[in-house]
Point group: C2
Chain length 262, copies 2
């Protein structure tokens, strides 16, 4: 199996190396990741600038490996790797392990989920892995073991071309994770705020504050289950259509007049 591994925290992120070590026995693992951290890059891609690729040696001793660094966005890494850099087709794309949860509407800001979603658009099976951050730093080795456990289950179920799965590891502790939950993405809003700050030329300037929370979510969702200490698994698709509203609007359209000028 040929696996492409990428992330959004950048090529030097510990979560990337931990995921590499956790899956390297599955086959040939090629790492193509952003040269610099790309948190909240969303699904941005680079249209007009060139993307420069450099070989980077990571890890040490028997765990040393070579990776390709790309000075672009997470989605750039996956597209460029699949379209141009890799000599043979890829069987699976993994993104992560992100330092920070990617659940609820935050998946739209996430470069980790975008890297995996890009792979799904390229008709490859893809999994995004993220680890929630608590009071202490993420234990990436333990998180990676849990990611591998989930990946083995997903592969056993059949992970087909174009299928995308979002996996989140909760804050770990003696009694966490409490188990695994297959749950939908929450659409609860985010509560954060902007603070006015000094600007050298006296202009109006604002900075997004660090404090962040989700609005109360209803039902069993990725947001609620992750918070409760469960590993969450959410199958995603690259289709934003809202079918009930599509039907309603198509019905309404029957009563509309002709377009002006028709």
């Amino acid at each position: 199996m040929r696996i492409l591994l990428s992330n959004d925290d950048g090529i030097l992120a510990p979560g990337l190396a931990a995921l590499y070590r956790a899956v390297v026995d599955l086959g040939e693992v090629v790492v193509v990741a952003p040269s610099h951290p790309q948190s909240a890059a969303g699904h941005a891609i680079t249209l007009r600038s060139p993307l420069t690729v450099q070989q980077v040696g990571l890890g040490a001793g028997r765990e040393a490996f070579t990776a390709l660094s790309v000075d672009g966005r997470p989605a750039d890494c996956v597209r460029l790797a699949v379209r141009k850099l890799l000599p043979a087709p890829v069987d699976l794309v993994l993104a992560g392990i992100n330092a920070g949860a990617n659940v609820g509407i935050n998946i739209f800001y996430s470069g980790t989920v975008a890297a995996a979603a890009e792979a799904a658009m390229l008709r490859l099976p893809a999994v995004a892995f993220s680890a929630d951050v608590g009071a202490q730093e993420v234990d990436f080795d333990r998180a990676a073991g849990l990611c591998r456990w989930v990946l083995d289950r997903l592969l056993a179920c059949g992970l087909h071309p174009g299928q995308l799965v979002n996996v989140n590891i909760p804050v770990l502790g003696p009694d966490r994770p409490r188990g695994v939950r297959v749950v939908p993405q929450s659409t609860a809003g985010v509560e954060d705020s902007y603070h006015r700050q000094e600007h050298p030329q006296g202009l109006e300037s604002y900075r997004l504050g660090d404090s962040f929370s989700f609005a109360p979510a209803e039902g069993l969702t990725d947001v609620a289950c992750l918070e409760e200490g469960y590993v969450t698994i959410t199958p995603l698709k690259v289709d934003l259509t809202d079918p009930p509203r599509l039907d309603k609007l198509a019905e309404a359209q029957k009563t509309w007049p002709a377009l002006p000028g028709q």
Copy 2:
């Protein structure tokens, strides 16, 4: 009605001014848009840098108006405007008119759709408008008239908080648009390519080519109908969950062993 207007082509884009003129009679229209073009910014947001806001005078004579420029991403403009800049609640958020179609999986790369999606996440009704580009430049005044016609229909149907609609105007001509289609988003892949190019330090460097097409799409979708000359309307949601695969995976999970260490 208080309307917030943004875009991804930047505050000086002709599509923004055309949309402003087309909707200004609906109420109070406030323009908050990126200081520079942000095509393919996706749903990126700015986490750690400050966002600087400046007043800009746009248009001329009786059509002059004042806008706020933000040196960030399209989604930043909407979040910052709603959270901090605007003195009173917004009733509707419009994004566009983008110079270029935003249909199929391209909506994931689109800053225009991201600006509107951000509004939906903030529990506001939102519409993204884009105009396909053909051999000639977009006639934004004609496109804006069509956008207004669609907006009036959407408002008459009821556009509720958190509801997001993606509208695309086809390449215009004597016999185009041919009509209006309410259609789902296509998930067809994109065909494009990267070209190796010279790098000053001799490094490996690639640039995304300009040629771009969609893989053949099945059924009646936004991609197919726009190409055929129809105005396309697609209701979107900010939820990527894939319900059939969620059910399948939840069923499979019943047979999984306990997590390691549990």
